[in-house]
Structures are given as structure tokens and as C-alpha cells.
Amino acid sequence: MSDDGRDPRPEGLGRRDFIKMGFVGAFAILVPFAVRAAERAPYRREDYTWGFIVDLQKCMGCGACVRACKAENAVPDGFNRTWVERYTVGRDGKVEVDSPLGALNGFPEDVPHPPTEVGKSFFVPKLCNQCATAPCVQVCPVGASYAAPDGVTLVDRKRCIGCGYCVQACPYGVRYIHPQTGYADKCTLCYHRITKGLPTACAQACPVGARSAGNLKDTTSRIRQLLNSSRYGVLKPALGTNPKCYYIGLDKEVV
């Protein structure tokens, strides 16, 4: 109290307190972001070997992955970085495969056999197999197709001459020459996303969690856990390409 009986500080919150509280409040708001930033260490390629896993028992052929991929990567019409095939095995063992527009709109038509004649039917999503010994990388005459240190096969658009040799060399038909730009194009495993800790566009869009990319070097990753606990296969293993795209519940009819 001062002599005149007045409090030297103004009533309520003083300026000094206001600024103090402002600092404290701002700090409190920023802490979670700071913690998250600290948790997400900068992406180090050498810590990763990317692989992809597809659970064929989960895929229901909705085509959301195909649409997401098209939108995310501006895939030109008539070509696909990923697509979904439908296998229909008749009771007589006859196999029919279809993939209308790569299942861009799912499968609007019914299975080719009448339902009573269908033995089994299932969907198989396809994408770049991320081969450990990739024939596309081997044949590229200018080194434009290359394997990144984290195991993802990529195309350097600044180097590609558009000869199409990689398109011929890929046993899985995942490559194409971009009709507008002339360079070779294919699934990059959404490299721009996975290196920022995000899922691939197809994985994020999949309503049943049938497909995802993961770090094979990390023993705690989902892909490693699935590979350790399930029986799986890869496509065309006899060609020695060593694909890193694994299929749980792969049927022998799938090539």
C-alpha cells in the first residue's frame, strides 16, 4: 500500500503479467509440436529398406487405391502405376482375369462366370515390385533408372531419354512411357510421402488396410511383423528379380 492508499499496480492483469502469461501460453501451445518435431528425426536413407506388403485376403477390389494413385501422381489416362486384377476360378478350374481400366472404377461388371459356376474369386493389386535386383535398372542405358540407397527404384526424369528399354525389361508390366512428356514412368512408392513419414497414397486410401509400404530394416515395423507371421509369395520368383513386394495369400494362378 502506498501512502495515498492506492495500489501502485493497476487493477487486474498488469502489462508485465500479460506478457509473461503470453510467453507461457505460447510455450505451452508449441511444446507438443516441438516434441513431435524432435520425435521425427530427419529422414536418413541408410536406416531404411522399403518394401511393400499386400494382404490378398483383405482386398475387396474397390479401386480406391487406383483412384488415389491417379490423383496423387497425375498418372496419365490409359496407364497405371497401380491396378487391381480380379481372378475368377471356375469350378472346372478355368481361370478368367480382368481389370477394367485397371479397376479405376472398381469392378462394375459381375464376375465372368455365373455365380453357381464360380469356384473362387479374388483381387490382386499390382504395383512396382521394387526388385532388389531390378532388370529395369540393369538395362537403362543412361542410368536414369536407379535404386535409391533406401531400396526404392526410381526414374530420374532429367536423365531419361525415353528409349523404352526398361519398359521391355520389367517382367511385371509396371512401366510405361509417359505419353505427354516422353520419359519412363512408374510407381515411386510415393517417395515424396514415405520419406516424410506419410503412408503411400494407395495405402492411405485403402479402406481395409490391405496394402502398405514399410521399412524392412526395422524389426518392429508392421511389414516385418506380417512377414514373420504369415505365409507369403512374390511374383515371378524364377526370374531372379528378388521383388520386395510381398503378397499374403498368393494363389498360383497369379503372375
Binding site: 490409359g78 481361370v95 538395362v139 542405358p141 531419354i161 525415353g162 528409349c163 528399354y165 520389367c170 526370374l239
Partner: protein, 396 residues
């Protein structure tokens, strides 16, 4: 617009395979390279292996090889998605790629052919340099590298160099074309291509097409110049043509036979490819019309005593048919291999457009230019020796 409307599909084809990536330009590339290698080998038969009856055509064969070689890369350039980067294949080659060796092989062969052409034409170039004045005279003098001496000593040296380069050129020519076959044969993803026999089949079909095109040109030029065709010369070429075509076709058949007999998983799909998609181009044109008929005609020519007129008909028509056979073979390999999907469950179709930049008109133009160039070369410096009938019969 979606791609499904463009190609006629059969069975299940992977979405990206509905469009054929390697077009008629890539059919033309091994075809022209084959003519290069084949024509060179004919000239070497004279220069190196003493086939004296081939003298009238030896130098012409060498220059033909050069003319085709100049345009061998043209279809590739037209095909590239990014043609402005074409030279990257030579500047920044990737050591693991079979295709990256192209620059080295092509340039080595080009160097050999250019030098051999120069030495084999030197006397004629000097002759033109002495006979002409003004700018053209200067051009010929420059072409002769301003050394206008011609005597026994220089002739001997020219001859020696040509012989040496003819010897060196044979393995390089074989390598150039065997290499083109290897580009296809090394693609394990494609069972129609993936065979170690591919490079040897390409090489032999190259020799066949090279001899056939020389026979054809030799006849046409003889008729244009109104001279009797040099019978021993065409007969020798026809004999070689018969021999090489027998080995070539036998190997082509052996290749299919071995795939069929092995009955691997992909044979079922390949069988449909051959019997359905390639029925006309492979079974009818390549095997029956292109191989069986010339085999019989050339056999008749080689084994039976005939009048020269009849021989001319047999040899000429066989050469035409064999040129078609080799073109069909290139088509069946390059296009055929892409018609079958790597799903092994379906087939696409392909027909080049007429006016596309990789279409038929452009293909015809690219294939015609080397012949026009050859005519121009002959206008500049006579390509046939002046002591032969065809050389004397020059209209100019």
C-alpha cells in the same frame, strides 16, 4: 480418353501393355543394321577371302554398307521419347546396360567403314580431283586430303589397308549385329526374345538381307544401264545367299522347336502368339513365302543347269522374297514380342499409323534415303570398277 479403345485386346493384358512401346521404327533399326553388316561381309568376301567373281560388286557393297550405316540410327532417333537427349547414351553410358555399348560399337564400325571406303575409292577420288576444276575440284582435292599421287606404290598401300580393314571389319560387323540381337535376347522378362540364339539368328539374317539387297541393286542397276548382268558375280552371290539362308532359317526353326519341346509354362502362350497373332507375318510370310520358296528357287539355281535368263528370274525373285523374309522376321521379333502380355494370358494388337511420326510413311522415307544417298555417291565418284560391264555401261 482411355487407352482401351486403341488396341484390340484378346484375353487379359496388363494395363500398361495395351500400347506397343517399340514401334515399326524399332523394326526398321535392326533391318537397316542388318543390311550394313551383310553388305560389308559381301565386300569382305572379295577383299579378304579371294572371291574374285565378286569384284564388280565389292566396292559397291562397301559403300552401300556405309550409306545404310549413316541412317541406321535415324529410326532410333525418331523413336526416342526425348530425342534431344540421344547423345547421353554416348556421353553418360551406364556400364550395366547392354544398350549403352551401342555408341562404342557403332562408332568403331563407322570409323572402320569410313576409312575403308576412303582407301578403296582413293584412286577414283584423285581421278575426279584432277579432272574437275573450281569448287567441285577443290571438294575432290579436299576429299583426297590434297595428296593426288597415284602410282603402283600407293595402289599397293591402298590395297593393303583395305584388306586389313576388311579383316578387322568382319568381327566388328558381326559384333554390331550380334549385339542388336543380344539387346533382345537378354530380356528375360520376354520369353519370345529371351534366348541365347537370338544374336546368332540376327547375325545370319543380317548377312542374308545384306546379300539379297546387293543382288537386287546389282540387277536394277544393270537393267538401268542396259548391260548384261555379270553372270558369275550374281551366281556367286546367289550361292552364298542360298547357303546363309539355309543356316539362318534352320536356326530360326530350331529356336522355336526348342522352346516348344521344352514345354515351359510360357509355351502355351507363345503357341497362341505364333498360331494366331503372328499367323500371317510369321507362318505365311516369314516361313512359307519368305523361306521355303527362295530355298527351293535358289536350290534349283545352284543345282540345275539353267539358261541365264531363267537364273536371273530365280535369283532376283529369291532376293526380293528374302528381303521380305528378313523384314518379317524383324517385325515378328520386335512387334510379336510385345503383342503377348507379360501376364501370359492375353494379347494386344499393333498397326502403325500412316502419317504418325513413327508411322509407315516416315518408315518408308527413312528406308529410302540410303538408296538415294547411294545414287548420289555414284554420281560423285563411280562405285563400279571401270573394267567391269556394269562400270562401262554408265549412262554419264
Amino acid at each position: 480418353m482411355h487407352g482401351e479403345a486403341i488396341s484390340e485386346l484378346m484375353g487379359f493384358v496388363f494395363p500398361n501393355e495395351q500400347h506397343v512401346t517399340w514401334t515399326v521404327m524399332i523394326v526398321l533399326y535392326p533391318y537397316i543394321t542388318g543390311l550394313v553388316a551383310g553388305a560389308f561381309i559381301v565386300s569382305s568376301l572379295y577383299h579378304l577371302f579371294g572371291q574374285e567373281s565378286l569384284k564388280p560388286v565389292a566396292r559397291f557393297a562397301l559403300v552401300s554398307s556405309f550409306a545404310f550405316l549413316l541412317f541406321a540410327t535415324m529410326p532410333l532417333l525418331l523413336h526416342l521419347g526425348l530425342p534431344t537427349r540421344a547423345f547421353n547414351i554416348m556421353i553418360t553410358p551406364s556400364s550395366s546396360s547392354a544398350m549403352a555399348g551401342f555408341g562404342i560399337v557403332y562408332l568403331t564400325y563407322m570409323a572402320i567403314v569410313v576409312v575403308e571406303v576412303w582407301f578403296s575409292m582413293r584412286e577414283e577420288i584423285v581421278g575426279r580431283a584432277l579432272a574437275t576444276t573450281g569448287a567441285l575440284g577443290f571438294l575432290f582435292k579436299a576429299l583426297a586430303l590434297f595428296d593426288l599421287r597415284v602410282d603402283e606404290r600407293t595402289r599397293a598401300l591402298d590395297h593393303k589397308v583395305v584388306r586389313f580393314l576388311a579383316g578387322l571389319g568382319i568381327p566388328v560387323a558381326c559384333f554390331l549385329h550380334g549385339y542388336v540381337g543380344f539387346l533382345f535376347g537378354s530380356i528375360k522378362a520376354n520369353p519370345w526374345w529371351s534366348t541365347p540364339m537370338m544374336f546368332i539368328i540376327f547375325l545370319l539374317s543380317a548377312i542374308v538381307s545384306g546379300i539379297a539387297v546387293l543382288i537386287l541393286l546389282f540387277y536394277v542397276i544393270s537393267w538401268v544401264r542396259r548391260v548384261e548382268v555379270d553372270a558369275p558375280c550374281v551366281q556367286t552371290m546367289a550361292n552364298f545367299l542360298w547357303g546363309f539362308m539355309i543356316i539362318d532359317v534352320a536356326l530360326e526353326l530350331m529356336q522355336i522347336l526348342s522352346i516348344a519341346y521344352q514345354q515351359r509354362a510360357e509355351w502355351e502362350a507363345l503357341q497362341i502368339l505364333i498360331e494366331d497373332k503372328l499367323f500371317w507375318s510369321h507362318v505365311v510370310i516369314q516361313l512359307l513365302i519368305g523361306s521355303l520358296v527362295p530355298f527351293l528357287l535358289l536350290g534349283l539355281n545352284s543345282l540345275v543347269k539353267l539358261r541365264q535368263r531363267t537364273r536371273n528370274v530365280l535369283i532376283f525373285s529369291s532376293s526380293v522374297l528374302l528381303l521380305i523374309q528378313v523384314l518379317a522376321m524383324r517385325w515378328n521379333v520386335v512387334i510379336g514380342g510385345q503383342l503377348m502380355s507379360k501376364s501370359f494370358r492375353g494379347y494386344t494388337s499393333y498397326m502403325p499409323g500412316l502419317w504418325d511420326h513413327e508411322g509407315l510413311i516416315v518408315a518408308v522415307v527413312v528406308f529410302t534415303v540410303p538408296f538415294l544417298l547411294l545414287r548420289f555417291f555414284d554420281f560423285m565418284v563411280p562405285l563400279f570398277p571401270s573394267d567391269s560391264a556394269i562400270g562401262k555401261g554408265r549412262p554419264s
